[in-house]
């Protein structure tokens, strides 16, 4: 028999809200990436507006965590879950911010001269997307190995960043890219690299909530 059914349903609800927030962030980031690749500024504008919803989620989940801490005085795995959720919403919100950053970039780039296609950007985008999804799946399934996979994948993101940097430098030297574009591309690569870092943070908090150890 288990007690604290009210508490358990509050925790379930908290997890559900985190999943909802993640879904929203994943959608925004996916759209932002596509808006960036396809230079679709209409899509970009929508994402910029949707970011308010992400912020609202962060606020309400944070409030819910505080309320549970205050009223239920959680310990052990419950405390670890709530601590992890509190940290994860910060990373999710940051990822959401980067979706907005990328969307703004799209709007600028559409207006600016020239174009320069780098397949590495698309590849980097795909890895980032997968990392966020895996991090969330590892949370839902309490799967440490899946979370570790996220952490491993970050090396790939870092490699792409280096590669893009070198390609842009080369293009500048060979006069193949406009000044605007070179900066925009580097900014996009940097945002993606940061998104990868936040996905790693998510995975680390998932591991903490399961094992009690945070690296």
């Amino acid at each position: 028999m288990t007690y604290r059914t009210q508490f358990d349903s509050e925790l379930d609800n908290l997890k559900l809200n985190l999943i909802r927030m993640s879904d929203l962030v994943i959608r925004n980031i996916t759209d932002a990436l596509h808006s960036f690749i396809n230079m679709n500024s209409e899509l970009a504008e929508r994402i910029i507006k949707e970011d308010k919803l992400v912020n609202d989620f962060e606020y309400s989940i944070e409030k819910e965590c505080m309320r549970i801490i205050l009223r239920e005085q959680p310990v052990a795995k419950d405390l670890r879950l709530i601590t992890s959720v509190l940290k994860m919403i910060t990373d999710l919100e940051r990822i959401g911010d980067h979706a907005v950053d990328l969307s703004r970039l799209t709007v600028f780039m559409e207006k600016s001269e020239g174009n320069f296609n780098l397949p590495q950007i698309k590849l980097m985008i795909d890895v980032c997307e997968e990392m966020i999804r895996l991090a969330l799946d590892s949370f839902v399934n309490k799967d440490i190995n899946m979370a570790k996979e996220v952490i491993d994948k970050d090396d790939l993101v870092d490699d792409y960043f280096e590669e893009i940097k070198q390609l842009v430098v080369k293009a500048i030297k060979e006069n193949n890219i406009s000044a605007d574009y070179s900066i925009y591309l580097m900014m996009a690569a940097k945002y993606l690299e940061r998104i990868g870092d936040h996905a790693v943070n998510l995975a680390e908090w998932v591991i903490f909530s399961i094992t009690g150890e945070h690296q």
Partner: protein, 251 residues
């Protein structure tokens, strides 16, 4: 880390009923060790075994080994009176003697043969100060202890224990009869006392164990399920049973 008590394979029965089963644990010096677990799991029994208070209970059979400062407390030539002087006890309900505040604290030293008025005076005042009670009672030491509030009475009992110059103070749910403010005062006092004494405390209040203790032992039906640093127990216990109990999902 220095150990005050070393408990090995301790078993205790009341008649046919087992109350403690194969307990192995060390109590470190100058730390606060909390015993937690559901009612009837053997916390008070274990506490009482440490200064052989269970000797006073008929039908109580103890097997196993407890060393206090390296000496076997069950050996024939071990001085039990000495043990109870060194290992004081404070109970759940404050139990001041029906006498003045001063005499309550002076009782122990007098029994130990202290007659010198000045020494008695000093001992009592020092004990009251250490129990964080002196400032509240300095003007009424001759008044009956029964006049004090519950929280003050409990601190008086702690002063009475301190006056015996113990090394260890055992406390059995010392705040369960007190209101939150009196409880907070006793908790502050316990943390203060840790500088000089080793404290073993039984508590029903898990938040209290988490707040004040260094080590926590979780008992269940006479068995020691888990014993570790308090921070570890309350953040990441090793045993599922411990987790169930401290998170309130114990069935």
């Amino acid at each position: 880390m220095e150990k005050v008590f070393t408990i090995k394979k301790l078993n205790l029965k009341y008649g046919e009923k087992t109350a403690l089963l194969d307990i192995n644990m060390d109590i470190p010096k100058n730390e606060i060790t909390a015993l937690i677990g559901p009612s009837g799991c053997g916390k008070s029994t274990l506490l009482r075994t440490l200064n052989r208070m269970n000797d006073l209970i008929e039908n109580c059979h103890v097997k196993g080994d407890i060393k206090y400062e390296g000496n076997d407390i069950f050996s024939k030539d071990f001085d039990v009176i000495d043990l109870r002087t060194n290992v004081g006890m404070v109970f759940q309900k404050p139990n001041p003697f029906p006498m003045s505040i001063f005499d309550n604290v002076a009782y122990g030293p007098r029994c130990q043969g202290v007659k010198d008025k000045k020494i008695l005076q000093e001992t009592v005042i020092q004990a009251l100060k250490n129990a964080a009670l002196y400032d509240e009672v300095r003007d009424r030491l001759k008044e009956s202890a029964k006049e004090l509030s519950g929280g003050q009475q409990q601190r008086l009992c702690i002063a009475r224990a301190i006056a015996m110059r113990p090394d260890v103070i055992l406390m059995d749910e010392p705040t369960s009869a007190l209101d939150p403010i009196a409880t907070a005062k006793i908790e502050d006092l316990i943390l203060e006392l840790k500088q000089k004494y080793t404290i073993v405390i039984v508590t029903h209040n898990m938040q209290q164990a988490a707040r004040i203790s260094d080590n926590t032992a979780f008992l269940l039906m006479g068995e020691l399920i888990e014993y570790d640093k308090t921070d570890k127990i309350f953040s990441n216990p090793a045993k599922a049973k411990t987790e169930e109990y401290i998170t309130g999902r114990f069935g």
